[in-house]
């Protein structure tokens, strides 16, 4: 009974805090403005707060990380929040910064104070700042990735044929061109909405769709080499897809990912990572299973045990172990998901190949949570949408190319069953009609004989909250992130049990409990060697000797939330024995016995 009352009280407190401190209106900021405000935050909360420069984007913009906590941050269990990951997701960066600001603003409240003493919080509000700046560009367009110049049409020149604002509305939208070879038709639901003709239903395509532009380099292709760059959320090692336009030549080819990788691996105290992206693994939990074959990516096969792999070091956790190596992590992860699922409000899409959230668990060994910062309330479907790649120009063939695959900006995705775009379209038409440009004819010089119309949903509008809903979505995300932050592990050591066995031999039994919800560490993190093992270090006095047990005891199996382990030591001799217990992801506790 006491517990439920406590829970209710803290929930109420959270709500109160949520509403009292959120005085400022939320809006989308340029990189310069946001950087300035991060520095202001650091100035204001100097003792609690550090600001790190963790690297630079392709365009030379500094990537910032806020560190919030007290004392020696690297010995405390930590949560890392990452935003600015999808090329057009500004809502995530707002929510991430919002969380940081309000934790700091509430840092004198008891509940938050305790959290900041036990744990450290890291926030990277804008991992890939380059594409987000296009929101504020004079001519707004939907960015594909960072500022890396590339040669997408392999003509030896970089970024030489990009978009053009033909109708001078400062927005790059779409052109639909009447063409018997076209694949698109108007939707029967709404004439303004475009979808691909379904041949099975006998529909015949009527339009070709391209991004607004002309053939700048007179090579027969339109917009085949716009400013592209790398989409950092496709550039991780998790299920990386090679030979794409925007995934990068190889995983971690972007400086943004390298900065993130070094930042995370240099902090073995970070146990949990939350990423703002378009995938929601809280409402659609992952099935964490080991790979079926050695080369297959984990999470895709059925639970066959994995053999092989060689042992590194003398430690008995080489690859020969059978059974599901993710089992402990999977259980921990599921139990926390159950607790936080009610606070996750925004459905998402299928996980991206090369996604950062996938990497954070499978290739960096941390509990990884992810969700969009905002989504349409009516959205039911979570099938894959939004594909911004243009079809590659055929070698030696001329094609009026440079068009999107769909799932974006008022175009239905390739997946016939998806209703995400139509939902978005209807919502925007009703609630933010300025974000939709009605199709209007344009006399296009490259198409003298075809009717061309310009229109569509404006860039950024499909995936970002309208500014006046930012406050609401940020508040919702605050509650979710707070729950995750609170679920980090906490080590408690009971009074050691000392039994005298005679002849100066004592048996000391330690009982170690994890009071938190997440496990003390992850088994996948141990296998990757990105996390340390849970250790008991024994310091003896002069003349004492450990008979059974070691001076350094490894507890390699994670201690689950609410779980308990016991360890016994037989010690000869009198004097004080100090035990230091824990690891960076669980925190440390010390106990002593006087023998």
């Amino acid at each position: 009974m006491k517990q439920t009352a406590l829970i209710k009280a803290s929930a109420l407190l959270m709500l109160v805090l949520a509403f009292t401190s959120f005085a400022q209106t939320q809006k989308y900021q340029t990189y310069a403005d946001e950087s300035k405000s991060l520095k202001e935050i650091k100035e204001k909360y100097g003792e609690l707060c550090k600001l790190h420069e963790i690297g630079k984007s392709a365009g030379g913009r500094i990537i910032y990380a806020l560190e919030i906590g007290k004392g020696d941050s690297k010995t405390k269990p930590s949560l890392l929040i990452i935003a600015g990951v999808e090329p057009d997701d500004l809502s995530g960066t707002v929510s991430a910064k919002y969380f940081a600001e309000n934790i700091l603003a509430n840092s004198s409240a008891d509940s938050v104070k305790t959290l900041l003493e036990k744990y450290t919080l890291y926030v990277i509000p804008r991992l890939s700042p380059d594409p987000l700046e296009k929101y504020f560009a004079k001519v707004k367009y939907a960015p594909a990735g960072n500022d890396l110049a590339d040669d997408q049409d392999r003509d030896g020149k970089k970024d030489e044929d990009g978009y053009n604002d033909l109708n001078n509305d400062n927005i790059i939208s779409f052109m639909r061109v009447i063409d018997p070879d076209g694949e698109w038709i108007e939707s029967t639901d709404d004439q303004m909405f475009m979808k691909k003709a379904d041949k099975k239903k006998g529909e015949i395509g009527k339009y070709k769709i391209l991004y607004e532009g002309i053939d700048d380099d007179k090579d027969g292709l339109i917009n085949e080499d716009p400013q592209g760059g790398i989409n950092v959320n496709k550039n991780s090692t998790y299920n990386f897809k090679a030979y794409t336009d925007d995934g990068g030549l190889h995983p971690f080819s972007s400086n943004e990912l390298r900065a993130l990788g070094d930042f995370l691996f240099d902090r073995p105290n970070i146990l949990a990572v939350f990423t703002f992206n378009y995938h929601n693994n809280i409402l659609d939990p992952w099935k964490i299973k080991p790979p079926q074959s050695q080369s297959q990516m984990p999470g895709m096969g059925s639970g066959a045990p994995m053999g092989g792999g060689s042992m590194m070091g003398g430690f008995g956790m080489g690859g020969g172990r059978s059974g599901n190596m993710f089992a402990a992590d999977s259980i921990s992860y599921s139990s926390v998901i159950k607790e936080i699922t009610s606070s996750s409000k925004y459905k998402g899409d299928a996980i991206e190949s090369g996604s950062i959230a996938g990497w954070a668990f499978y290739d960096a060994g941390r509990f990884s949570f992810c969700a969009p910062a905002w989504s349409y309330p009516e959205l039911k479907d979570t099938s894959r949408s939004r594909a911004m790649n243009r079809p590659p120009a055929q070698m030696g063939q001329q094609m009026p190319g440079g068009g999107p695959q769909g799932g974006f900006g008022g175009l239905q995705s390739a997946s016939a069953s998806s209703n995400r775009e139509l939902t978005a379209f209807k919502w925007i038409k009703k609630n933010a009609p300025k974000n939709f440009i009605e199709w209007k004819e344009y006399k296009h010089t490259d198409f003298p004989n075809s009717k061309v119309e310009i229109g569509g949903i404006i860039p950024f509008a499909q995936n970002n909250a309208p500014e006046d809903s930012l406050k609401n979505s940020s508040e919702n995300n605050y509650k979710l992130l707070y729950k995750i932050f609170k679920s980090l592990p906490e080590i408690q050591v009971g009074d050691p049990l000392v039994e005298q066995l005679g002849n100066g031999v004592s048996r000391v039994t330690l009982t170690i409990t994890n009071k938190g919800k997440l496990a003390s560490h992850t088994s996948v993190g141990r296998r990757i060697k990105s996390l340390q093992s849970f250790l008991i270090r024994t310091a003896l006095s002069e003349g004492q000797k450990v008979v059974t047990g070691q001076k350094v005891t490894f507890i390699d199996e994670p201690i689950p939330g609410g779980g308990q382990v016991k360890r016994t030591f037989l010690i000869i001799g009198k004097g004080k024995v100090d035990f230091n217990i824990g690891c960076p992801t669980s925190g440390y506790k010390s106990v002593s016995v006087q023998l």
């Binding site: 392999r154 027969g220 790979p291 080369s295 060689s310 070091g313 003398g314 990757i528 001076k551």
Partner: protein, 577 residues
């Protein structure tokens, strides 16, 4: 007078000898032994190993002696701050290094695979010193470029050469056992003999016993036999008192699993480290490769086993395309002749799957035709494969007969702080994977010969013929036939299929172009027209030993030239006379 003459005679006798001491070499007045260059400018012995300082001197001397044929640069720094040298070798008078098809060689990505460095250095030395004397080498350097990075993992190779250590990894600090301490418990040379060998302990009933014929050899006991030894592992103590011996030495990642093609984390591929190119050395070399698009084939030196390895390294990610495989087969088979006892093997099928290795990345992301050489085969000891029952004893026999007991350290007692009385002994690290001095030069020359053969298969493109057919009204049809004389195409299949590099370009100058395109065969008039920018016709590539035909319809023009330009296939120009 007589005494005078005596002194003069003596002086004359000693003159050549004193010249010898002054120069440090003999004058090559006697018959040249065929193989090595005659009277090289840079004197190098090829029966020994060179450390970082020494090989830096060799490279600098070679570059100074042949400034028109070589360029020396550092591609980056190792973790401990040493320069990763690359020597580019070509005849700069015939064109820039970047304008020619290039062959890339590197060695010692694994620190204990030391002899590849000497092979790479030998190759650089041989090419430069032989240019003026040997037509084959001259033609090679006039038309091709060699990029040679003799050592990748310099820091840990230095440790191999100058300390008792013998590890394969690098020196970037990593916590291998997860105790928060970094590199705190490695091997130690306990008995101070300069080597880290094995420890054994006398235990009644142990699973090992001494061979009755040769007490050095330990033999595993049969199920019912009672032995007297247990093996304890490498020489060392439990430095951090955690019950584990030597579990966290320096590094312990594998630099050859840190590359960007099908990289997998540690639980699938041990040693992969944090993420692709997280190590400074692999990143520096990768950046170099990315900047030099003209590299079309390569060789990486490892040891041991006597193998010429090709990918793919994992199944079912079969990335190798059919015609690329055929090329590798052709080159690999000849490699087996040049390198007797070496076997041409596919890594996955012949050995074990590996992920994130260098040569697969070179192939899949850069369109390079790669080989890995595992140097040194035990067959080299007696020029034949030992019978299975003899193979264990062969190194001991070789030590006795050819090395006069120098390579094996006799088992000697030692008082171990934890184990008590143990015995330390075993083979020195210079045997097993590394040739003895008298076989090192042979390794160098034969492996170099394989790479020169391989480089000689790189494309050789020439514009053979330009014809001009009048069409009336000052219009002409210009047809050009371009041939690649060598088996390797100007781009591999993997490159064409995945658009890794630019298309080859054929440009006509000195005239007004009306239309142009690719002529599909020599005989028929079928032209595949390129509608846009016909002055430069794009062709996907020129296959091995094949022609490509391009034709234009032009107006006028007196001085017509045709240029061929390829990222990896080199350049060619011809004027219409």
């Amino acid at each position: 007078m007589k005494i005078y003459l005596k002194y003069i005679f003596a002086f004359l006798l000693f003159l050549p000898v004193s010249t010898l001491f002054a120069q440090g070499s003999f004058e090559h007045s006697s018959l040249k032994a065929i193989g090595a260059p005659n009277n090289p400018k840079v004197q190098v012995s090829w029966n020994r190993f060179y450390d970082y300082n020494e090989l830096t001197v060799i490279l600098k001397k070679l570059n100074e002696a042949y400034p028109g044929l070589s360029k020396l640069e550092s591609v980056g720094k190792t973790y401990e701050g040493r320069e990763i040298w690359c020597i580019a070798i070509t005849n700069f008078k015939t064109g820039k290094d970047s304008d020619k098809p290039a062959y890339y060689i590197d060695a010692a990505i694994h620190a204990n695979e030391i002899q590849g460095v000497e092979v790479a250095l030998y190759t650089a030395w041989f090419l430069l010193e032989s240019y003026a004397q040997n037509d084959f080498v001259k033609n090679l350097l006039d038309s091709k470029t060699f990029y040679i990075i003799p050592v990748q993992s310099i820091d840990s190779r230095e440790a191999f050469l100058h300390s008792p250590q013998a590890f394969r990894t690098g020196l970037v600090p990593r916590d291998d056992d997860g105790d928060g301490l970094i590199d705190e418990d490695g091997d130690e040379d306990l008995n101070g003999d300069g080597y880290i060998t094995q420890m054994r302990i006398r235990v009644k009933g142990g699973r090992w016993k001494e061979d009755p014929d040769d007490k050095r050899i330990l033999v595993r006991c049969q199920t019912d036999e009672e032995g007297e030894f247990e093996l304890l592992g490498n020489e060392g103590i439990d430095n951090d008192d955690d019950g584990l011996l030597n579990e966290d030495g320096p590094g312990s990642y594998d630099p050859n699993r840190n590359w960007g093609w099908i990289w997998r984390p540690n639980y699938i591929q041990s040693g992969a480290d944090r993420y692709p190119f997280s190590l400074p050395e692999t990143k520096a070399v990768a950046d170099f490769l990315l900047k030099h698009n003209n590299i079309l084939a390569s060789e990486s030196y490892h040891n041991s086993g006597g193998m010429l390895l090709i990918g793919p390294d994992q199944n079912p990610e079969d990335i190798l395309y059919q015609r690329d495989i055929q090329l590798l087969n052709y080159i690999g088979k000849i490699g087996e002749e040049i390198l007797p006892a070496y076997k041409y093997i596919n890594t996955y099928k012949g050995l074990y799957p590996t992920y994130g290795d260098e040569t697969n990345w070179q192939y899949a992301n850069l369109g390079i035709l790669p080989f890995v050489n595992e140097l040194w085969s035990s067959t080299n000891m007696y020029r034949k494969q030992a019978a299975p029952e003899d193979s264990r004893k062969e190194p001991y026999k070789f030590d006795k007969q050819l090395l006069f007991n120098e390579s094996f350290l006799e088992w000697k007692e030692f008082n171990h702080p934890k184990y008590g009385k143990v015995e330390i002994g075993g083979f020195k690290k210079q045997v097993g994977r590394i040739p003895p001095s008298f076989l090192l030069e042979e390794e160098c020359h034969r492996n170099m010969a394989f790479t020169l053969f391989n480089a000689d298969q790189l494309p050789q493109v020439a514009i053979e013929e330009i014809t001009k057919k009048p069409l009336g009204k000052d219009l002409f049809e210009i047809t050009v036939s371009i041939r690649n004389n060598k088996p390797i195409p100007t781009k591999l299949d993997v490159d064409v299929m995945n658009r890794l590099s630019l298309s080859d370009k054929v440009t006509i100058k000195g005239t007004k172009v009306i239309s142009g395109g690719i002529k599909l065969t020599r005989y028929l008039n079928e032209v595949y027209e390129q509608k846009y920018n016909p002055e430069t016709i794009n062709i996907s590539r020129i296959s091995g030993n094949s022609y490509v035909y391009v034709s234009w319809i032009v107006k006028g023009g007196k001085n017509i030239t045709v240029e061929y330009n390829s990222e990896k296939g080199g350049k060619a120009v011809k004027q219409l006379k």
